[in-house]
């Protein structure tokens, strides 16, 4: 097992000194590795990173995000993806290559206000994120409850190898779609299960940085210990 050292940091804190590789949220100043945000620093064998506890969503290619249609242009939809950039979904992605702006009406397929599970196909500094729905489980979301959490806490909600989300899904029989942008859609046939799942997600958002969170969530959901031993400690 690799030894990982964790510590609470704020911007400007020196996490480590030496020949290490700065990863996410770490700034290199000579030999010093400096945290650039409030979070939990992790020192690995040859790299350093900080898990942020605050901040917005920065799009990354291949991320699954949940977007809300905010507008259309003749050739594409514009999406609010809870980021400083607007996501673009080309009309051809939905209608196919023979899309014609004169023949097809974009709003018949996706109207303003619709929630859509999409994947970020491409994003770089020079242009806004390009979205796609060409994949399994992507497309318009017809039903469910939208819960918004801080994007920085999404990894905690998923847990190691999906352990946390599996625990919630099994205990509540809910289906949870997690967007990396912090937008989560929970659908469940049983209204009590839905409420419990929403409560669990909100609890993780509030207590993301505390240790033994899996145990707390389990006790809140009434899951007996030992059913899913995949605990996370950070």
């Amino acid at each position: 097992m690799m030894d990982v050292k964790r510590r609470y940091v704020i911007p400007g804190d020196v996490i480590a000194t030496g020949p290490l590789r700065p990863e996410q949220n770490v700034y290199q100043d000579g030999e010093r590795m400096i945290s650039t945000c409030v979070g939990i620093s992790e020192i690995f064998e040859n790299s350093v990173k900080v898990i942020p506890l605050t901040g917005g969503y920065m799009p990354k290619a291949n991320d699954l995000v949940i977007g809300k249609v905010i507008g259309t242009s003749p050739l594409s939809w514009e999406f609010d993806i809870n980021s400083c950039f607007v996501g673009f979904l080309p009309a051809q992605d939905v209608f196919g290559r023979d899309y014609s702006p004169t023949k097809d009406e974009l709003r018949q397929r996706l109207d303003i206000g619709d929630l859509v599970a999409t994947r970020i196909a491409n994003f770089d500094r020079s242009r806004d994120p390009l979205l796609t729905v060409q994949d399994r489980d992507l497309g318009k979301i017809d039903s469910g409850e939208l819960v918004t959490i801080s994007p920085s806490k999404v990894p905690r909600l998923i847990g190691k190898r999906g352990s946390m989300i599996q625990t919630i899904e099994m205990a509540t029989k809910a289906i949870i779609t997690i967007g990396q942008n912090g937008w989560i859609v929970i659908s469940c046939e049983d209204s009590e299960g839905l409420l419990k799942a929403v409560e669990a997600v909100k609890m993780i958002d509030a207590l993301a940085h505390t240790p033994n969170l899996t145990e707390r969530v389990k006790s809140m959901l009434g899951v007996p210990d030992g059913e899913n031993n995949d605990t996370i400690n950070d």
């Binding site: 911007p11 400007g12 409030v38 901040g55 400083c84």
Partner: protein, 242 residues
């Protein structure tokens, strides 16, 4: 003149508000006080009461201000009409425009803007009650609000003034000392990097006095940093054990 100086300080170096020469006023900072802002902080620096809110990164309006290579930082320092004894006209004054500019320039070296091209980070500072040294207090609150918003920063920015009152170098000049004293020098520091991001001087100092004044201000900045750090730690880690 002599009469004023004796009022500002006693023979044994006790200042008009009872502080010693190297003593700061009481500082308290609360983080995340505004729900609708992405990041916020409220500071009480002596009798100064200042609120800072941060929005962004977000779309730039007007669009022509956007920079395709990096984000931009905008800052607005504003004094409420009730912040001073006589009603202040709420329209931005020459002084407020200047302070907005120097605060922006003091924060800019700390904020990593290159990760957010075509966007803006807006910092709004509202002075609810002013009592001398409000630009330093505003800067302290703004830096904490930026960290609360999750804006990537190389370091926090801590600011504190030093000055010359009754021929003595003092830390953290208050309103009376600012009005009647001989010099006021606000300094902002990135404490971990040891870099100064703001240095202004109103008044006159001899070279050796300037050096002492600078040292005094830097000590003050480091003490302010401890308060900022504690405030952020309390907000984010109060439920968890290290």
């Amino acid at each position: 003149m002599v009469k004023t100086m004796t009022q500002l300080m006693t023979e044994d170096g006790i200042r008009c508000d009872g502080r010693r020469l190297d003593e700061l006023r009481n500082i308290s900072i609360k983080v995340g006080v505004l729900k609708n802002a992405d990041g916020s902080a409220y500071i009480e620096f002596g009798k100064n009461k200042i609120l800072a809110g941060v929005f962004g990164p977000r779309d730039v309006h007007p669009k022509h201000m956007a920079n395709p290579d990096s984000g931009i930082l905008r800052c607005r320092y504003h004094m409420s009409p009730f912040s001073v004894t006589e009603r202040k006209n709420p329209a931005p004054s020459r002084r407020e425009i200047e302070i907005s500019k120097v605060i922006k320039e003091a924060l800019q070296p700390a904020v990593i803007l290159k990760d957010y091209p075509r966007t803006v980070i807006d910092v709004f500072i509202e002075v609810l009650q002013a009592d001398g040294g409000s630009r330093c207090a505003a800067l302290d609150a703004a830096a904490v609000a930026l960290a609360d918003a999750g804006i990537p920063m190389r370091d926090l920015v801590s600011a504190c003034a030093a000055g010359k009152v009754a021929d003595r170098i003092v830390l953290d000049v208050n309103n009376e000392e600012d009005q009647e004293g001989q010099a006021d020098m606000p300094v902002a520091l990135m404490p971990n990097m040891g870099k100064i991001t703001l240095l202004q001087l109103d008044g006159m100092l001899k070279p050796e006095e300037f050096k002492t004044c600078m040292q005094t201000a830097l000590v003050g900045c480091k003490r302010v940093y401890e308060v900022q750090r504690k405030a952020l730690m309390e907000k984010y880690f109060q439920n968890g054990e290290q």
